[in-house]
């Protein structure tokens, strides 16, 4: 028996076929026990009040960022377990680790969770953690709306995640193409969960988009013109503008499907001349900008990380900004490349194929500009930089295969095959995930005040990246062998066996990497390496001029920005005392008050959504009334701001040694 067969055999022994019932019961028991354990802990330690005051009602962007990060990591775990289940199922031909129905549910939640509830919140976590500090602002433009966004997202995520234990999981794929997602083919509540959770989370996302667009445009410190803004702030601005116009078509596509399912409309049904392709069209009007919503922040992060760890100014700042703008503009006009096979005709296909290829130009410019930024620098192999260094050779493959997919007649052979699966995992994992992890390690000291152990983090990195290559590179070849996505299993004799086996092994390596990452976080929390300087990386932008973590008002004195990498310039020109305040000039600072309204509003959305999922319309109406009540309360309540008096500010700043004597 070869090693490969032996491992496959072992997996089959460990996971006998059709273990559907025990695993759901197990998860339910786990959830219940976990929830009880947390509640007991909070009660014993008298932490309920602390949790409510410090976290659940907070409107502080830094804390909201941390909550987004925790949610994203939990969802990464969930989506990752789904991925492992998928890969285990495909380890060999006819390996019945689970039934086809459960397999369909698992790949549906894998896609949905990873895109909407892992990648998006991870991006928003970093926006919240870094953008206001970078642009020298006391908070985002609409702090309470920011909290509303978070809680609506969180309850949307909960809604999707309870589906598999209450009522049934969605199983129509993360795109949920009708008519398969319609009632006739897909009875039960699983699909309703999908529609409602994305709809609710989408509302939160649009609000975040508005918030950060206005924040970046209106809340910058004096002197920071657009051309002096850090690239990450630019990417936040552009990502937000993509969110604004990408999410409404999704809202419509999901909403119309919901009307079909719950109220008997005929948009995408087979009968009454419904037109399923219109859903596909609307979905990808959203879907394509969405992938740029995910990748732009990664581009922004790398544009911060590379100069810092190369000790060198960013090469071609104007070209970097211009290419971000060009990519976002082009991304609105390429969506048909997701369905060249619908017979829209050569004119449409050629137009959208060529517009897709055009995106490679600004993206190529960015790749080379990062390399030229490193050229003539002094590259430090810290963990954020390692992720960036892994990103470049990985992402260039993903981008290049993207160009190959845009060549229309070639796409007729790639579409829906594992070639395409490999491509988009190549860009989303190799681009977005590498990017947000780089950003997470980069801003971690700023968010928490302590650093993550570099040695452990490097091991996590090594396993994850090696696993990534072993997982996804074979999938390109599987596509050329004719294997299509979403196959619950496959027969022997098609030549797919060994590549699938390698791909599965790679996914296990990635899982090991993730476990080390979690261990790294817990270990580093127990053995904290405090960041006392506030500037652990010798940074360039304003957030590193603050102590770690930043005080709740961020800046005691708003800096007056003179150059592009202001903090770097301050350090070089010996102006670092500019960030200190003098005892006589301290002024009271107004910060927004905590509010219970956001979490209540989101809870009302949640109740209403449950009502819609199960067609309990009394409950849906109740939830709707709750939403109106929360909004009315928010409108009538007098939200005078909280004033932090000058003495307190002075004390806080003095404790951090930031007062000029």
């Amino acid at each position: 028996m070869s090693m490969r067969e032996w491992i496959t055999h072992l997996i089959k022994l460990l996971f006998p076929p059709q273990v559907l019932l025990p695993d759901i019961v197990g998860i339910d028991i786990g959830l219940t026990v976990g929830a009880i354990a947390i509640m007991v802990y909070l009660t014993v330690r008298h932490r309920w009040g602390w949790l409510w005051r410090e976290w659940l009602t907070t409107v502080d962007h830094k804390k909201i960022g941390i909550m987004y990060l925790i949610a994203a990591l939990v969802m990464l775990f969930r989506g990752g377990v789904d991925a492992l289940m998928i890969r285990t199922q495909l380890i060999g031909p006819r390996a019945h680790f689970m039934g086809a129905q459960q397999y369909d549910e698992v790949f549906t939640t894998h896609g949905t969770v990873m895109i909407f509830f892992m990648a998006m919140p991870m991006v928003f976590a970093l926006f919240n953690a870094a953008v206001p500090l970078m642009i020298g602002a006391r908070d985002v433009a609409f702090p309470r709306l920011n909290a509303i966004s978070f809680w609506i997202f969180a309850f949307g995520a909960i809604l999707l995640n309870i589906s598999f234990s209450i009522g049934g999981s969605p199983s129509a794929g993360w795109m949920s193409y009708p008519p398969y997602s319609e009632l006739a083919y897909n009875p039960g509540v699983g699909e309703n969960y999908f529609l409602l959770s994305l709809q609710v989370a989408g509302i939160g996302t649009i609000a975040t988009g508005i918030n950060f667009l206005v924040t970046v445009l209106r809340m910058r410190a004096p002197g920071m013109s657009l051309s002096k803004m850090p690239i990450f702030a630019w990417s936040a601005l552009i990502t937000s503008s993509l969110v604004l116009f990408a999410f409404p078509p999704l809202t419509v596509a999901l909403g119309l499907t919901m009307l079909d399912r719950l109220f008997g409309a005929s948009f995408f049904t087979v009968a009454h001349q419904g037109m399923p392709m219109m859903y596909v069209n609307l979905f990808w009007i959203f879907g394509h900008p969405e992938v740029y919503i995910l990748i732009m922040p990664a581009f922004g992060i790398f544009s911060e990380v590379v100069p810092v760890f190369s000790r060198k100014a960013l090469f071609g700042y104007e070209a970097m900004v211009g290419s971000l703008l060009a990519i976002s503009f082009l991304s609105y006009g390429v969506w048909v490349h997701h369905f060249f096979e619908m017979g829209a005709g050569p004119g449409v296909n050629v137009f959208f194929g060529l517009s897709t290829m055009l995106i490679a130009i600004p993206t190529g410019v960015k790749m080379f500009n990062w390399l030229f930024t490193m050229w003539g620098g002094r590259i430090r192999l810290t963990v954020p930089m390692l992720w960036q260094l892994a990103f470049i050779p990985t992402f260039v493959v993903g981008g290049a295969t993207g160009v190959m997919l845009a060549a229309v007649p070639a796409d007729y052979q790639y579409h829906n095959s594992y070639f395409m699966i490999a491509h988009f995992h190549n860009v989303i994992v190799g681009g977005t995930v590498f990017g947000v992890l780089s950003g997470m390690y980069y801003w971690w000291p700023k968010m928490f005040g302590w650093k993550l152990n570099q040695r452990q983090a490097t091991w996590a990195f090594a396993f994850f990246v090696a696993g990534f290559w072993v997982t996804f590179m074979p999938q390109y070849f599987l596509g050329l062998e004719g294997m299509t996505r979403r196959m619950a299993t496959y027969p022997a004799g098609l030549g797919w066996t060994s590549l699938n086996w390698w791909s599965t092994m790679g996914s296990y390596l990635m899982a090991v990497g993730f476990l080390i990452m979690v261990y790294n976080i817990i270990w580093s929390r127990l053995h904290p390496d405090w960041d006392t300087t506030g500037d652990p990386w010798d940074g360039r932008t304003l957030e590193w001029s603050l102590p770690s973590p930043a005080p709740e008002y961020n800046f005691a004195r708003i800096p007056h920005v003179r150059s592009r990498d202001e903090w770097w310039a301050m350090k070089r020109e010996g102006r670092t005392d500019d960030v200190k305040i003098s005892a006589d000039s301290v002024q009271p600072i107004h910060v927004p008050r905590n509010s219970a309204m956001p979490i209540m509003l989101a809870a009302a959305f949640f109740v209403g959504s449950i009502g819609m999922v199960f067609s309990w319309f009394w409950m849906a109406i109740l939830g709707g009334l709750g939403v109106v009540a929360a909004l009315a309360y928010g409108s009538f309540a007098d939200y005078s701001e909280l004033t932090i008096d000058a003495a307190h500010v002075l004390k806080t700043e003095a404790a951090m040694g930031r007062v000029d004597s």
Partner: protein, 289 residues
Amino acid sequence: MASGRQRLMKGLGLAVVGLSIAGCGSDYVVLHPAGPVAQSELHLIVLSTVIVGVVILLVWVLWAYVLLRFRDIPGNQAPYLPNWRHHRVLEILVFALPVVALIAIGIPTVRKTYALDHVPSHHPLVIDVTSLDYKWVFEYPRQHIATVNYFYMPVGRPVLFQLTANSPLTAFWVPNLGGMEYAMPNRVLPLWLEATRHGVFLGRNSNFNGIDFWRMTFEAHAVSELDFHAWVHRIQVTKPPMTHRDWRRLLHRSVTAPAAFSGYPANTFPERATQFTVKGLHYIPTREP
């Protein structure tokens, strides 16, 4: 740890070698075209792979060079240019490089897309294809025979497939013969393919449509013109015609074995969108005889 890493590297190396050897195997259906459509598509695949391969290689080499030369280690003699942020020629070059690559890929893309939109024959063999839940029905309107999950086509003669579905969206794909197209309810879409060599080619639905999606395959038999006519004749003589009862059985959600019929009811292939109705889980054409 070191030995573990060595083993990992060895495994990786083996994987790469294995892949390149397997690359020549006939399992790579996309790389082994049996007809002009797949041939044309393969040509574009190879062309684009080579072009983007050059770009990938360039980036990899530059990346490795930068990484080796400009490390922050004591005694590094490489120049340190902390304020080097612009270089006109370089910036034009990195802009021009993708432009050239894209022109090289874009022009054949446009030409092939238009070329593949025309059947190179006035008298193609017409096959009406209906995808039902987990099975494919092929109807030959001129020969008036129908088959399930397999069909015969003559070598050297273009075949025009008219695709529709009386089920969720599916996609028709025979990798050896050429690219796929959706089969969707409420719409009939044309796709032409041609076989230039004999053989049995595996086709499948590539678009997820339910739990037995992965079993929704069919076989395309490419035979000589003579054999094709003999086959048609055999079906016409030996097989019973498809009854409405047979059709209704096909409409059930199920996987069925290949079958053939010497005729089929007139309204099973819906030419107009209004002919689709849905009643529960079963679909029936409105115009019952």
